[in-house]
Amino acid sequence: MPQKVLAALMIALVSLSIAVPAWAHHSFAAAYDTSKTFEVKGTINRVRLTNPHSWFFLDVKDAAGKVTEWAFEAGTPSGMIRNGYKASEMKSGTPVTIQGRPAKDPTAKVGMLVTLTTGEGKVYKMFGPEENAAR
């Protein structure tokens, strides 16, 4: 039972004292509750590598098999790409787990991406897999 629920949609809200980094810019603080994180499992529907920010759209299936679309906001595409993001690794249907900040409107299926983990265990952050890698 827990596995089924987890596989469909697991939301874990945890209070965090971490402030949004200054470079996580624009209106993130107005749109998302940056004191909390949650997790969603699903498959990539499409990825929009656009300015000012990129978006990952997920198909998330619940226990009854109903599919709901979630949208997660990520970083500027140029930075993501130069930080190692490869579109070829994020095709439609790719299973992923996203941890993000929830929307302030709890009914909105929208979040701010913190990490995206592929089925193979590769981790992408808001600004790509090598975000903030050591100089």
Partner: protein, 272 residues
């Protein structure tokens, strides 16, 4: 079973939170206004190569310039921005209280006048490219496909062009310093983005001074004049950029309508 699930979920999420906190803290430490000092035992750096020259002997400003990395990436040095809020006239400050970061024009792909990092050649983002020719210096920005074509042949500002978000620029050389004066801005965007409420008027005028110190270093100083909204000129702190390890910025589209709509959907209150 439900208790087990909740317990597991909280434990897993807590573990993740601990994992996330480390890199985020490190980011905060890394984002200093100046590069970290080299280790004491490091060998002395080799002398910097001189700035390349154009055929006329002027410094060649061409190249892709950034702070040392992409936003959120290694080498990024956005620093703590100095702003000019204290220079706003009281009535402008009062009017600005009706605005918030959700009114940021860049969410709708509207460019800013000065630029997010107080660097006009960037606009939003942190990468810009200069292509210098004998007659023009062309500055290209990545985030909005923005460009500035700056004549260097002594001509005056054009009279018959409409106001624009990025203004009309002319340039001239003062020794090895390239001086750019930009005016004829609209009054319906902000000076900078990232949610910093920063309105300006159509009397905005920018004077920038670009100096290629050596092959890898470009220094930019600027002064902002806007007598309609500011009590006096704002001297922008000097910004030092470095040559990026690639020679071509990226073609990217801006899709602000989607971003604005989705972020509005996420927020609990409708956008003003």
């Amino acid at each position: 079973m439900r208790t087990i699930l909740i317990t597991f979920t909280i434990a897993a999420a807590t573990a993740l939170a601990i994992q996330w906190s480390a890199p985020i803290t490190a980011i905060g430490q890394q984002r200093g206004a100046t590069p970290a000092a080299p280790p004491a035992a490091a060998a002395p750096a080799a002398p910097a190569e001189p700035a390349p020259k154009m055929a006329d002997g002027r410094p060649d400003l061409s190249g892709v310039w950034w702070t040392g990395g992409d936003v959120g990436g290694r080498g990024y040095r956005g620093g703590q921005l100095v702003t000019f809020n204290s220079l706003y006239k009281p009535e402008v400050t009062e009017a600005a209280k009706k605005l918030s970061d959700r009114n940021d024009p860049t969410l709708k792909c509207v460019p800013t006048a000065l630029g997010t990092l107080n660097v006009h050649m960037f606009d939003v983002g942190a990468v810009g490219q200069i292509v210098a020719t004998p007659k023009f210096v062309v500055m290209l920005t990545e985030t909005f496909h923005g460009y500035r074509i700056i004549p260097t042949d002594g001509r005056k500002h054009r009279e018959e062009v409409p106001p624009s978000y990025r203004g009309d620029a002319v340039g001239h050389w003062e020794g090895d310093v390239f001086v750019v004066e930009t005016k004829n801005f609209t009054d319906d965007t902000w000076m900078s983005a990232e949610g910093r409420v920063s309105p300006h008027s159509d009397e905005l005028r920018l004077v920038e001074r670009y100096r290629r110190v050596d092959k890898n270093t470009l220094e930019i100083e600027a002064t902002v004049y806007d007598p309609k909204v500011l009590t006096g000129p704002w001297t922008v702190p000097k910004k030092s950029l470095v040559l990026a390890p690639f020679d071509q910025i990226m073609p990217l589209i801006c899709s602000g309508v989607e971003t604005q709509a989705l972020m509005d959907a996420a927020a609990t209150q409708p956008a003003k």
